[in-house]
């Protein structure tokens, strides 16, 4: 990657243009009255088309993507994004549909939604889905709205609490707060699972439900799920499933069968649609049959959700079919366990045993600390991995371990790629043991290195300013 230091504003020259529009055949409309007219200059860049193409191409070359290399990124399932899906989503007969066209004009789109609904219901064991949410956290919020609506429809207005495990994704408690729910945290046991004994006293008639992901964020299956479901249902509460960790269950286990009443899926994780540098995503929400009536009361996005993303995910599901679905779950789990076994002699594995699609190390066993040289941290390991051509794992999450390093390989990486990653992780551990300073200074081979984030937050520069 080559450092490139321009902003598009700096390429601007007065009078240059990058557009071509048809000649105006109409008589001139009345001017916008001066009191309503823009009175301040519009300082957008004035650049030619070749300027624009070269600028953004240069910018792109400072980026890492799934097509560039391996993302061992826990909690975010960065699998390969199939190219045929892009082409299908771009078809003019889909891209040209206005969202307010009536159903008689959009029969193909309606069929996509219907068939997606059936397919996701089959994969998850839920009854029906709404496709309006535009991302995972948006799905969580929608799911919690459904949870509250369910209780309100029964005339039960006192359920204003939701239980969230201490290992949960940050979006879980944040979504609960946006939905007007009070968060009650339940602790995890030494073995990384929810403490059922600690859960019991929290279960009162003020509890709307519990949010879980299974496997949890440590990549461990919640083995007591049956008991938890019985307990929560026993007090009239509902179980919410955070679908961020659905990948290992593909073709093997269905949230609906485990007793979950509501769930979301991240189509931009489990169903292969590209992450786009942080969206667009899609977070469809599935419910069990008794909650079906709670969906129509809600309007959480402008029209029909991110249709373009749904099209891509549907093409992916058609390529999996019933024959290949199980391989997704199984191979993702195989790769994760393989990496864990190959590295646990050098990195601290806080909880032994088989993992699902991801697992968490708690830093290096030997961080190389000596005399007054501090040891190599998880941040150092992550930054050094960039030098070796890999994206970093998710770090310092979950919050249960101080040096958390969360690795998820996905099913689309080959054994050679995984072995090369293991080799890099072993070299880094050896470097740390020998001289942690190599890691403190990393990355060394990237366009920039360790920017000053403190100053960025203290004296924020958040838009372009002409010198």
């Amino acid at each position: 990657m080559k450092y490139y230091d321009k902003l598009v504003f700096e390429l601007s020259r007065e009078g240059r243009t990058g557009y071509s529009l048809p000649a105006n055949p109409y008589p001139a409309a009345p001017e916008v009255p001066s009191a309503l007219r823009r009175g301040v200059p519009l300082r957008l860049p004035e650049v030619s088309e070749p300027d624009v193409v070269r600028h953004y191409t240069n910018l792109s070359q400072m980026n890492f993507g799934v097509d560039t290399g391996f993302y061992p990124l826990g909690s975010c399932t960065m699998k390969y994004n199939p190219k045929i899906n892009e082409e299908m989503a771009g078809l003019a007969g889909f891209a040209g549909l206005h969202p307010l066209m009536h159903a008689g004009l959009t029969k193909g789109a309606n069929k996509v939604y219907q068939e997606m609904n059936k397919a996701l219901a089959a994969i998850t064991g839920m009854y029906t889905f709404t496709f309006d949410p535009c991302a995972g956290a948006h799905g969580e919020l929608t799911g919690l709205m459904i949870m509250r609506q369910y209780h309100m429809n029964r005339g039960d207005f006192k359920r204003a609490k939701v239980i969230v495990p201490d290992s949960a994704h940050g979006t879980n408690p944040a979504s609960a707060a946006v939905c007007g729910l009070e968060v009650v945290e339940v602790k995890s046991l030494e073995n990384g699972r929810i403490d059922v004994e600690a859960l019991k006293p929290l279960l009162t008639d003020e509890v709307a439900g519990i949010m879980m992901t299974n496997p949890n964020t440590l990549g461990l299956f919640e083995t007591e799920i049956k008991t938890i479901a019985q307990l929560v249902h026993g007090i009239g509460g509902l179980l919410y499933y955070d679908g961020a960790n659905m990948n290992p269950l593909m073709g093997m286990v269905r949230p609906g069968d485990m007793g979950f009443d509501i769930m979301h899926l991240n189509l931009h994780k489990t169903f292969s649609t590209p992450h786009g540098g942080g969206g667009p995503g899609s977070g469809p929400v599935g419910v069990s049959q008794r909650l079906e009536d709670c969906i129509p009361d809600l309007r959480v996005s402008g029209f029909h959700g991110n249709f373009g993303v749904i099209l891509r995910a549907y093409a992916y599901i058609l390529s999996l079919g019933r024959q290949h679905l199980r391989k997704v779950g199984q191979y993702s789990v195989l790769s994760a366990n393989y990496i864990k076994e190959c590295l646990k002699d050098l990195y601290k594995l806080p909880i032994e045993g088989v993992c699902k699609h991801e697992f968490v190390f708690d830093g290096l066993i030997n961080d190389g600390a000596h005399d007054d040289v501090p040891g190599a941290t998880t941040l150092d390991v992550a930054k050094r991995l960039l030098d070796y051509g890999f994206h970093a794992p998710t770090i310092y999450f979950p919050l249960l371990f101080h040096q958390a390093l969360m690795i998820e390989p996905t099913e689309t990486e080959s054994k050679e790629t995984i072995d090369a990653f293991i080799d890099a992780m072993r070299k880094i551990a050896a470097e740390a043991a020998r001289d942690p300073e190599i890691l403190h200074g990393a990355p060394h081979n990237t366009p920039i290195s360790r920017p000053d984030e403190t100053t960025a937050a203290r004296n924020p520069i958040l838009k372009y300013q002409e010198n």
Binding site: A29, G39, L42, G65, G93, F94, A137, A174, V300, G302
Partner: protein, 442 residues
């Protein structure tokens, strides 16, 4: 059954990995799952399709949709997309990248978000923009929450009835669960009524007011005196805008608004049946730390090179959990890139020209439709750009059907019994003349 080309595992790879783990077979990796939860039997899914079969199947789905010339806006506008945009946005370094948490290998994403923020500030006349929201309506809902967070002991947010219906519905849904009371400000003679607004504000429980810059009837609203009235009661003024129109109409900054929100879709995003679009939000500097979503800031790296990072993250869910300003995580980053490239290509003059072509076309259509004698004016003399409503003299169902048969999506019904039309630069004069002819032949 078709093969799946996305899985590189060979039999011998699988064997070697299982051996290293110390288990016999793949199923053993699920030994921690209670057996009653392991799915037995086949999934109710179709057979796996090959790439060619997927292509054929999607072609058949696509063919079931109507292909119409779009003369409707109402929150989704059929503006032209220059070829450069999809070309650049499909570069895998942008498309397949993760959220830019690892700034050293994400400077491409971070730089375009910084440019996007700069352009949104420029269009709106505001100080600070975030990195994007899901869409316009959810951005308005977030602004509603922010108004509550920015004010003290205020529980109500007012919505102008001139806002687009889908914006009102989404804000209402969020408000219901967030515990915010919603009040409404009526529209009088095509314009949010300032005296009604003042009467509501006098109750002293209002945290914020959301008003449309260009309203659901396409009329450019006059917000003289709005900010003073709102600020006098220590509430915040939120402007909901069409960003394309901001090239020519008074900006939220000029109206002294506190928050500007809207949908970036009108900046060259395909209609795509409603998404992905991109919501935007920009605020005055004093509200910066209450803003939801990601923000990119400029700094230097350890060698002194200009660098860009995600900043002010102490507002966000991954740090603050339930105390965060919002739950938003993934947003619409790639669509923000789309908008950034669009605005780079169009520049100030291109964007003004898009408005001129659209507005001239819309006014031409307006005049031609009146000449047919089948419509009455609803808001005579009120200024509009690309969109307007008329009152049909007869029940419009038959006309709409004939328009569809002739290849047009036009004359959308509104709640008030009007029909709405929109013209963008993509529509030609010949199309307009043909549309009017179809109506004449009634």
């Amino acid at each position: 059954m078709a093969e799946l080309p996305y899985l590189p595992h060979t039999e011998s790879d699988i064997r070697a990995m299982l051996d290293r783990i110390g288990v016999q077979k793949l199923e053993d990796l699920y030994s921690d799952v209670p057996s009653e939860f392991l799915k037995k039997g086949a999934y109710a899914l179709p057979d796996a399709l090959s790439e060619q079969e997927i292509r054929d199947y999607f072609a058949s789905l696509e063919a079931m949709n109507a292909r119409l010339k779009v003369f409707v806006g109402a929150g989704a506008y059929d503006h032209y997309t220059p070829a450069v945009i999809p070309y650049l946005c499909s570069r895998s370094e942008f498309l397949t990248a993760y959220t830019p948490y690892q700034c050293e290998i994400s400077q491409g994403t971070l730089r375009y978000i910084f440019e996007y923020q700069s352009m949104i500030c420029e269009l709106t006349g505001m100080d600070v923009s975030n990195a994007s929201m899901y869409d316009g309506p959810t951005a308005a809902a977030e602004a509603m929450k922010m108004a509550i967070a920015c004010t003290r002991k205020k529980t109500r947010v007012l919505l102008s009835k001139g806002l687009l219906p889908h914006v009102i519905k989404v804000v209402e849904t969020y408000a219901k669960f967030h515990g915010v009371e919603i009040g409404y400000v009526p529209v009088m003679e095509g314009q949010t009524c300032i005296n009604c607004l003042k009467a509501e504000l006098a109750k002293d429980d209002v945290a914020g007011v959301i008003v449309p810059s260009v309203n659901r009837y396409g009329i450019i609203e006059d917000h003289s005196g709005f900010a003073d009235a709102v600020h006098e009661r220590k509430a915040v003024l939120i402007e909901y805008c069409d960003p394309s129109a901001l090239a020519v109409v008074k900006t939220p900054g000029e109206w002294d608004a506190d928050i500007a929100v809207g949908d970036g879709q009108s900046l060259g995003l395909p209609l795509c049946y409603g998404g992905p679009y991109v919501g935007f939000m920009a605020v005055k500097k004093e509200h910066m730390r209450k803003m939801p979503g990601r923000i990119v800031g400029q700094t230097v790296d350890k060698e002194g090179r200009r660098a860009f990072v995600l900043t002010l993250q102490a507002r966000e869910q991954h740090i603050k959990r339930e105390k965060a300003t919002s739950n938003i995580c993934s947003n619409e980053s790639l669509m923000a890139l789309w908008v950034t490239i669009y605005l780079s290509l169009m520049g100030p003059e291109g964007l003004r020209e898009v408005n001129r072509l659209s507005s001239d076309g819309a006014h031409y259509l307006y005049g031609e439709l009146l000449k047919t004698g089948q419509f009455e004016e609803v808001f005579p003399g009120k200024p509009f750009l690309k969109e307007f409503v008329l009152k049909p003299k007869q029940f419009p169902g038959r006309m709409q059907k004939r328009l569809e048969e002739a290849g047009f999506f036009a004359a959308l019904d509104t709640e008030e019994g009007y029909v709405s039309f929109c013209v963008t630069e993509k529509r030609t004069k010949a199309e307009i003349d043909r549309l009017v002819q179809v109506i004449k032949e009634g």
